[in-house]
């Protein structure tokens, strides 16, 4: 299971370098395959030696991910990947850390760790595979399942308003928030690159299809035949336009979004870098069928990372003390006496 032979900085890596000898064990047709393929495609482009890359996951179908990427990997316990990643990244800031989680792992049992890692702004990349269901445990509803969804554990339909992952991420002060989809590999790869390039916590919701327990859940807006009309591709500095045959845009009415004809006055321009998160929040609340569903980067703001601040405090303390602390002095304490 160990990596084959040593790599070091500067070496040119290819997708093949990131494939392990483990047989991939998702159901045929699962959206996870597409995500894996794009990750393996993007990783060699990052210029990071593979021994510096670590994938950390929780539990779920999605969380099997690390077994298939030939870097360091840790398939931890349910919901705790963000906390494990925090410890790892603080201990070893020069690693490139990816967290892979699911809608159950990351938003049900693990919701709190997710929020806290985002507000702390550890420089890690979080990929949340949102298939709207608990896949691994065979089909119960998840926090992102739509209201009324019939599953094994909700035979009469769920009675809970779903969590909106991007809204929660924005409210939790994530410095990078994006959404993409398994069925749009090019956009997926692009989004992964953006996430990797961002310093600070990058939160990426990946709409993913579970062919077994929640097939076609995202099809109403992601199906190839309708996507161009029901997805809003967010592009920095560009007006918020969607619809290929009948182009329309998003404008604002007070603080509420509305759909207008393309090129109407008041059409919004996408600015993910705004310090004020209100526009990003509004975008995160656009849902089908009232609105097109935005894919792309919702928010991207610069903020110092937790680990750089933590190590900065250590360095500064050492600097201020004129060097690292002396263990003998510390053990001796401030006040001692000698018996002869």
């Amino acid at each position: 299971m160990s990596g084959k032979g040593a790599h070091s900085e500067g070496e040119v890596l290819t997708k093949a370098d990131f494939i392990t000898d483990q047989v991939v064990r998702w159901c045929p047709g699962c959206g996870d395959y597409s995500i894996l393929a794009q990750v393996q495609k993007v990783l060699p482009t990052l210029g990071i030696p593979k021994e510096k890359i670590v994938f950390i996951s929780g539990i779920g179908c999605s969380s099997r991910f690390p077994y298939y990427v030939n870097t360091y990997g840790f398939h931890t316990i349910h919901g705790r990947a963000p906390a494990v990643a925090t410890g790892l990244k603080v201990a070893n800031p020069e690693l490139c850390v990816w967290v892979v989680t699911g809608d159950g792992d990351g938003l049900s049992i693990g919701g709190n760790h997710l929020i806290h890692v985002m507000r702390r702004n550890l420089d890690i990349n979080i990929l949340l595979f949102n298939n709207g269901v608990y896949g691994l445990t065979k089909g119960q509803y998840s926090p992102t399942s739509e209201f009324g969804k019939v599953t094994k554990s909700s035979p009469a339909g769920t009675i809970e308003s779903p969590v909106n992952p991007t809204s929660i991420a924005i409210a939790a002060e994530a410095s990078f928030v994006a959404r993409t989809a398994d069925v749009d590999p090019r956009h997926l790869a692009w989004t992964l690159e953006q996430a990797a390039a961002h310093k600070g916590t990058s939160f990426v919701e990946i709409l993913q299809n579970c062919i077994i327990f929640n097939d076609k859940t995202h099809d109403p807006f992601l199906a190839r035949s309708v996507r161009h009309d029901r997805v809003l591709y967010l592009e920095e500095g560009k007006p918020m336009l969607f619809g290929s045959e009948h182009p329309r845009g998003i404008a604002t009415e007070g603080f509420a979004p509305k759909i207008v004809e393309a090129n109407s006055s008041g059409m919004l321009v996408h600015e993910p870098g705004l310090q004020n998160p209100s526009q990003a929040y509004m975008l995160s609340q656009l849902t089908y069928p009232e609105f097109p569903v935005p894919l792309g980067v919702f928010r991207r703001v610069a903020r110092p990372t937790y680990e750089e601040l933590a190590h900065g405090q250590v360095d500064e303390a050492i600097h201020r003390a004129g060097g690292p602390g002396d263990l003998g002095q510390l053990i001796k304490g401030k006040s001692s006496w000698t018996v002869t």
Binding site: M1, S2, G3, K4, G5, A6, H7, Q22, K50, E51, I53, V54, I56, I59, P66, Y67, N70, Y72, G73, F74, H75, T76, I77, R80, A83, V84, A85, T86, G87, L88, K89, V90, A91, N92, E94, L95, N112, H113, H116, A310, Q313, V314, E316, A317, I318, A321, P324, G325, L327, G328, L330, I331, K332, G333, S335, S336, W337, T338, V339, T340
Partner: protein, 631 residues
């Protein structure tokens, strides 16, 4: 006052103003400072302790806080106390009973009087015995006047008024007096036990260096108390306690939690690993976080997690990254960490879990102490998930036992529990400062050689798997909580592999016993009538009680276990040398169960679950009963 072994010949001693009062040498004194939470009793006790430590007495302390939350002033629930026992010989506990009680208000008197020795000295602030305070304390009559204190040497002092007077002189107003009454009382105690207040004066000067008014006020209160005692002739003599005959060396005063924090830093340095401390605040473990957080120049990274689950799993992550990862918590926190610790067992990564035990179950009594989490440490997670367990026995031993935890965790790649408790954590004793050369060599090197590397190949001696950390070229690998294939570490559902891995994990922990020195029996190592077996914070009380019984010629010995999992290999054999086995514990019999199950010896328990430590005499009586077979 009935100081233990009080000598007979009073000595002459000059007081500050030239008068001479007799100085009686005594061997041991136990003082309890008691007052309202707001009265600064912990501070007075700590100052007395510092001064006493510098004088070279042996000492032990027991701070007894009220519930975590502040109670209304003057009520029973708000009483805070600090006990110090100090002596000219080697002592092991803060004393069963105070011989001197300082009671700053009626509530403090009410709560603490039952513990005061018969004939003991009782110093009270007479000004506080107002109708209001008496009824808050539930006194129908004033105990100062109703004759109920006849059995004690009562010293009534108008402390509030005298402090106000003293303070007014230096600050032009008495408004700061309330905060310095404790120093007035402390001054009295300094005089009574012949201690120079200079150390505390220096402390005041340092603490308030930016506020000369406060320096003046506090110094005045302290001096006023000292002078009042010297001149007012409220005492007929005062007492001196000789230095203890301690082995040569340099000493400091240390609390268990301080020693634990020091041990953590030291274990980091000795292993040569970066130190990651991840914790969520909880009484009585928070002070370890407070001690480590400012030591950034020692390279320690402290992480205040969002909860205990995040703390332990962040530790697992840091350990995966090659750090020495340590967390500390108390019972309710450990109850949350089970799954994370189980993960560390499966992925075989070192993590140290310091448990500062407190009274349970549930929230229990957070400020009170207990030893009731041993079985949770052993069994509080799913599946067959063995981990190492060690327990310190005195405040200073927390340092050494933490280093031992570091050795075990990193040598055997295993989560390792360190079972302290609130009594040890907050208690203080003089501690012989080790030189760096005395410290064990437990340096760790991470695997870097890809040759022959697989994640679960094992060291043939320790059975530990290699610690290969992210960033190391050529050792890329994946681990996780699913069962691992032997050697390769891939996921495996194979039945025989599972059996083998369950066995290997158990054997690895069992092998730790190979690295342990022979167990020390205090007393007759060759056997005898009774063996008292203890662990953790009961060390002091058991040691003293056994010494007492032995001084009476009884055949009693003492085995104190630092290693609880695995148990040392010679324990069964040692138990077999004694007719009877008694296991005093501050729980309902947790170690006792392990000893009975492992060795089929009819070990009897001496159990107390009151939130308080054993008194020496409780253990002594237990020993006598056990010997007489009347239990």
């Amino acid at each position: 006052m009935t100081p233990e072994r009080a000598a007979n010949r009073p000595m002459e001693h000059p007081t500050q103003d030239g008068k001479k009062l007799p100085v009686e040498p005594v061997d041991r004194v136990t003082i309890r400072f008691a007052g309202d939470s707001g009265d600064g009793m912990q501070l007075a006790g700590t100052q007395f302790t510092d001064t006493t430590a510098l004088l070279g007495n042996d000492l032990a302390t027991f701070p007894d806080y009220p519930a975590e939350i502040r109670a209304p002033a003057g009520t029973l629930a708000g009483v805070s106390a600090f006990q110090i026992s100090f002596s000219s010989y080697d002592i092991h506990t803060p004393g069963d009973q105070p011989s001197v009680l300082v009671a700053m208000n009626p509530a403090a008197l009410k709560v603490n009087l039952p513990d005061l020795e018969e004939g003991g000295i009782l110093l009270v602030d007479a000004d506080t015995f107002t109708q209001g305070n008496l009824s808050k304390a539930g006194y129908a009559k004033n105990p100062l006047t109703d004759g109920s204190l006849a059995g004690y040497r009562v010293i009534q002092v108008p402390i509030t008024r005298l402090t106000t007077n003293a303070v007014t002189e230096v600050s032009g107003g008495g408004s700061m007096a309330a905060q310095s009454r404790n120093l007035f009382s402390l001054g009295i105690m300094y005089w009574l036990f012949d201690r120079d207040p200079i150390h505390t004066i220096r402390w005041i000067e340092g603490k308030f260096k930016n506020n000369p008014d406060l320096v003046a006020v506090n110094r005045a209160a302290l001096q006023a108390g000292y002078n009042y005692a010297a001149t007012a002739e409220i005492f007929t003599s005062h007492y001196s306690i000789k230095k203890a005959a301690t082995p040569p060396g340099t000493y400091r005063k240390i609390s268990g939690n301080e020693a634990t924090a020091l041990g953590i830093i030291t274990a980091g340095k000795l292993t040569g690993l970066p130190l990651f401390y991840g914790a969520y605040p909880i009484t009585p473990a928070s002070d370890i976080l407070h001690a480590l957080a400012p030591l950034k120049n020692y390279g320690v990274l402290t992480f205040q997690a969002e909860d205990e689950i995040a703390a332990i799993t962040a530790c697992v992550g840091a350990s995966f990254g090659g750090a020495l990862a340590v967390c500390a918590t108390a019972g309710p926190g450990l109850a949350l960490k089970g799954e994370g610790i189980g993960l560390a067992v499966m992925v075989e990564l070192p993590v140290i879990i310091a448990m500062i035990q407190r009274s349970g179950p549930s929230t229990g009594m957070p400020t009170k102490s207990e030893q009731s989490d041993l079985l949770m440490a052993l069994y509080g997670r799913n599946g067959e998930a063995p981990a190492a367990v060690v327990a310190p026995s005195t405040p200073g031993d927390c340092f050494w036992t933490m280093i031992e935890a570091g050795r075990i965790a990193t040598t055997y790649m295993t989560p390792t529990f360190f079972l302290s408790d609130g009594y040890l954590g907050n208690g203080v004793e003089p501690w012989a400062i080790p030189s760096l050369e005395e410290l064990p060599d437990i340096r760790v090197t991470h695997r870097s050689d890809p040759e022959g590397y697989t994640p679960y190949v094992r060291d043939p001696r320790t059975l530990a798997r290699p610690w290969a950390i992210p960033g190391t070229p050529g050792l890329e690998h994946r681990i996780g909580g699913l069962e691992k294939n032997d050697i390769t570490g891939t996921v495996s559902y194979d039945p025989t592999n599972h059996q083998r891995m369950v066995d290997l994990r158990a054997q690895k922990i069992a092998r730790i016993a190979d690295s342990l020195p022979p167990s020390q029996v205090d007393g007759d190592s060759q056997g005898g009538d009774l063996l008292v077996v203890g662990w953790g914070s009961t060390y002091g009380a058991i040691t003293s009680a056994v010494e007492r019984a032995r001084s009476e010629g009884r055949s009693v010995s003492h085995l104190h276990l630092r290693h609880l999992n695995p148990l040392p290999r010679d324990v069964g054999e040692i138990l077999g040398r004694f007719d009877k086995v008694l296991v005093p514990e501050l729980n309902t019999g947790q170690l006792r169960m392990l000893l009975r199950a492992n060795y089929l010896v009819d070990a009897k328990g001496l159990n107390k679950v009151t939130g308080r430590p054993f008194m020496i005499r409780e253990v002594y009586r237990g020993i006598i009963s056990a010997l007489e077979g009347t239990r």
